[in-house]
């Protein structure tokens, strides 16, 4: 996705969590860094040589002879020569954590940013090695590119405001420090949800983003969400964000705290369920794309268990029931009148 408006499709789909953006390398620890990088190269080369030589830098570039795309592919290739190695990493001198510098070549090739040169976001010159320590001023500035996006489905100013009010932005928890777009939307993997993507896949991939940080939820002993009937079934079929964001037409970026999230069953299990406007919106579109409007009309409003609504069937059935009540009443009144008449005459 670029500000030029190429290929921007709806929705926020995220794949895996992004470790805190690391753009620079500490030059003061050059020797130690060199050691780690050489180690990374030694370990990584046997595993990646085949991929480096056989796979193209970008799927898009593979399929085209566009000189611009070829240039981008060449630039990506320059970076990926090192960064495609799965073991490329260094130990942070500040907190001692291993910082992963590797990039999944295939994921990047299928991501929304596949047609971007690396330096579009990583603005600093990378001709020197080790790379410059500090990030350039506009490094990783998502809105720097996306704010002027022409696609009306993205309201970037809204997204910025929503995010500012989200629990992640407002939290004072140490592990929420530095939370940014990339924390959920991994720029090297991110791709938008496409109509036709299986619903279960969407749910799984979206929830994986949340669960990669909220790991305590995965534990079998976790009592979280235990108020939810059939918790496992819900987690398989519903995205975290379907409850943990305000009901909205678009993907709302104001992630709600647990105490602010709805717990009412009716919110989903009713005719105006939020799920219909959100997750199932994609299935609905998928249905239209796959089977046409007639099938959509038949299936309308009947996705959620317990919400077996068919407005036509309801109206017809209730009309029949009312009609029968009226007929029985009339029959009863008739019997009473006959009985009274008989009593009077006898």
């Amino acid at each position: 996705m670029t500000s030029k408006g190429t290929r921007t499709t709806a929705l926020t789909v995220e794949l895996r969590p992004f470790p805190k953006p690391v753009a620079t390398m500490p030059s003061s620890r050059g020797v130690r860094l060199l050691f780690w990088c050489v180690l990374g190269l030694l370990v990584g080369i046997p595993w990646t040589t085949g991929a480096t030589t056989t796979s193209a830098p970008s799927a898009a570039a593979m399929a085209t002879t566009d000189p611009e795309l070829e240039r981008i592919a060449a630039e990506q290739h320059n970076c990926l020569r090192c960064h495609a190695m799965p073991t490329l990493a260094y130990r942070s001198p500040t907190d001692g954590e291993i910082v992963d510098l590797s990039i999944d070549r295939n994921a990047l090739a299928h991501s929304a940013h596949a047609e971007l040169s690396c330096v579009e976001c990583h603005h600093r010159s990378y001709t020197r090695y080790p790379h410059p320590r500090r990030a350039a001023p506009r490094d990783f500035d998502c809105l720097g590119c996306h704010r002027d996006d022409a696609d009306p489905r993205f309201a970037w100013d809204h997204i910025e405001t929503e995010f500012a009010h989200s629990v992640h932005a407002r939290s004072e928890a140490p592990n929420a420090e530095g939370f940014s777009c990339q924390s959920c939307h991994h720029p090297h993997r991110f791709r938008t949800t496409q109509i036709g993507d299986p619903l279960t896949w969407i749910v799984q991939e979206h929830n994986q983003v949340c669960l990669s940080c909220h790991t305590q939820l995965i534990s079998a002993a976790s009592a979280s969400h235990d108020w939810l009937p059939n918790r496992a079934a819900h987690w398989d079929a519903v995205r975290c964000v379907d409850c943990h964001t305000p009901a909205d037409d678009h993907a709302n970026h104001r992630i709600l705290a647990a105490e602010d999230s709805p717990r009412d069953c009716v919110g989903c299990h009713s005719a105006d369920a939020r799920l219909l406007a959100r997750l199932y919106h994609f299935r609905s579109e998928e249905d239209i794309a796959r089977t046409g409007l007639i099938a959509k009309a038949i299936y309308n409003e009947s996705y959620v268990v317990g919400m077996s609504r068919s407005p036509l069937l309801d109206r017809l059935s209730l009309a029949i029931l009312v009609l029968v009540v009226l007929m029985l009443t009339a029959h009863g009144v008739g019997r009473y009148l006959v009985h009274r008449e008989h009593k009077r005459s006898s």
Binding site: P229, N230, A233, D236, D264, C265, V266, H269, S270, A271, D272, I298, Y299, S302, Y303, V305, G306, M307, S308, R309, S310, L313, D314, S317, I320, L321, V324, V325, L328, H331, G332, G334, R335, V338, H342
Partner: protein, 217 residues
């Protein structure tokens, strides 16, 4: 006056348990189906009530089928095709016209047959077709996560949901008619009393022996 012991204790117990379960199932089912308005049972409560009463209804239905197979009550559900159409016409004529002319009932209750042909056809359909469909679709709802995504290209949950809803509406219709028909006995409460005491009394002149009223609920 004659009296027939038509409703043994197990049958009355089952009948009234079924009646209570029906009311609870309808109230909770409607609350979930039309979830939202304040005057309905809250969804979370209705879900528990519906699941519990649905399971109890299943147990009751299985008990009824087993008891019907093992006791003489089952023979009331055996359809006799000879003269079926004639009886059907006569019974329909009675309900639509004869009852207003104070004509005698075309059917007489006895211990060998307590249902007129319309009742027999209705109860056969309800107990041996609609109830199993309702119960099977209800359990399929309970375990819908184990259903295949589609059956013959149609969403399986949708099939289950529509079956359950349609059968529920039909059974609600049955209940309405049933409640009205029990008032068409010798007196308005005669049939209701029979289902409480077990004894069906008949004071119709000329039917001193096994010729009590024609209608039973």
């Amino acid at each position: 006056m004659t009296a027939h012991y038509l409703y043994p204790a197990w049958l009355r117990l089952w009948h009234w348990a079924n009646a209570v379960l029906f009311v609870l199932l309808i109230a909770s089912g409607v609350s979930m189906h039309f979830a939202g308005p304040d005057w309905l049972i809250p969804f979370a409560t209705a879900r528990v009530i519906h699941n519990t009463t649905g399971i109890l209804l299943t147990i009751g239905w299985i008990g009824f089928i087993v008891a019907n197979a093992r006791t003489s009550n089952g023979h009331h559900y055996r359809l006799h095709f000879r003269g079926l159409i004639t009886q059907l016409v006569a019974q329909t004529h009675y309900y639509l016209i004869g009852i207003f002319r104070r004509e005698p009932h075309p059917f007489h209750v006895s211990e060998t047959m307590k249902f007129n042909v319309l009742q027999q056809l209705t109860y056969l359909s309800v107990m041996y077709a609609l109830m199993p469909l309702l119960i099977i679709s209800g359990w399929a709802f309970l375990y819908s996560v184990y259903l295949p995504e589609t059956v013959f290209g149609i969403g399986s949950v949708w099939i289950v949901a529509m079956t359950h809803v349609v059968v529920s509406y039909l059974l609600a219709l049955f209940l309405l008619v049933h409640l009205y028909i029990i008032t068409t006995g010798e007196t308005v409460f005669a049939n209701l009393r029979a289902m409480i005491t077990g004894w069906h009394r008949d004071t119709t002149p000329g039917h001193d022996s096994p010729q009590p009223p024609r209608e039973t609920p």
